[in-house]
């Protein structure tokens, strides 16, 4: 029961943009340095994020990426689903007719776990995570001085 590297790194990259972009474009190398993720890998992740419409890019010296929406409008669930596909705890087995026990497990365990998972990640926005990030990293105080 694991979220893939793509999902984990993609979420951290989006979070970095939410905390540090401030309306400006942020270069991949800045994100890579802060998040300790390789630029190569970030490029792949950002290509998916751009296709999904979460980020826009500008080329050139001042170029980089920015969010297309306010962090408070982006749910963590939508980011994860864009990177991971449907969030489900078991793969669909297309083995034809299901036994009673399998039907029961599907509706009483797996689907409820799926609902629970999606509910949690849909209830949290990128802004919520950004607030946590600022708090744990002591960025609240600095923001006041600017």
């Amino acid at each position: 029961m694991k979220i893939s590297t793509k999902g984990r790194y993609g979420l951290r990259a989006m979070l970095d943009l939410a905390v540090f972009s401030d309306g400006e474009h942020v270069s991949l190398s800045c994100i890579a340095e802060r998040q300790r993720i390789s630029v190569n890998y970030l490029e792949q992740v950002f290509s998916s994020l751009r296709k999904a419409g979460f980020v826009k890019s500008i080329k050139g010296a001042q170029g980089g990426y920015a969010l297309t929406e306010e962090p408070s409008e982006i749910s963590v669930g939508s980011i994860l689903r864009a990177l991971e596909g449907e969030l489900a705890v078991v793969d669909k087995r297309d083995s034809g007719r299901k036994s009673l026990i399998q039907l029961c497990l599907n509706e009483f365990v797996w689907e409820r776990m799926n609902d629970c998972l999606n509910e949690v990640v849909d209830s949290i926005t990128l802004e919520d995570l950004a607030c946590d990030y600022r708090r744990i990293n002591g960025l609240d105080a600095i923001m006041y001085h600017i």
Binding site: M1, K2, R12, V90, L100, L103, C104, F108, V109, L129
Partner: protein, 149 residues
């Protein structure tokens, strides 16, 4: 974020066992042939469940496997953790993680994953094997309305 076939088949076989008997040993063969599961794979899973104290085995001609306690005292979480390990969307939030990354303390994403784990844990804590057995009967009644025993 997947439960492997170990967890899936393990629960399936335990329900199969509970449906047959909760007081006398049930042979592995009779469970696997009913469920259409591989005997050697279920044996592996049953050994893990035995180690976790969920199953006991009885040797001999009338031997087989039995639940160690009432189905209402066995939660889905206990079964899944016994065969899958902790249900965590990422490995760094598990207690015995031997390689947490250097950013652990300042990672906000970790708080999200901890929240996910907590909610999932409490859900599977709340479902027992007895609930599942009851649900099999309910699904049976719904799927086979004309069938009278």
């Amino acid at each position: 974020m997947k439960i492997s076939t170990r967890g899936q088949y393990g629960l399936e076989a335990l329900i199969g066992l509970a449906l047959k008997s909760t007081s006398t040993p049930v042979s592995l063969k009779s469970i696997t042939s009913d469920c259409g599961l591989s005997e050697s794979y279920i044996l592996q899973i049953f050994l893990m469940l035995k180690k976790a104290g969920i199953l006991t085995s009885v040797r001999g001609a009338q031997g087989g496997y039995m639940l160690s306690r009432e189905p209402s005292q066995i939660s889905v979480r206990q079964v899944l953790e016994a065969v899958e390990g902790p249900l965590a969307p990422v490995s760094c939030i598990v207690d015995d993680c031997n390689d947490p990354c250097g950013r652990y303390k300042m990672c906000a994403a970790r708080l999200l994953w901890e929240k996910v784990k907590k909610r999932m844990d409490s859900l599977v804590d709340s479902i027992t094997l007895a609930d599942l057995v009851e649900n099999v009967y309910a699904v049976d009644a719904r799927e086979n309305p004309d069938y009278s025993i």
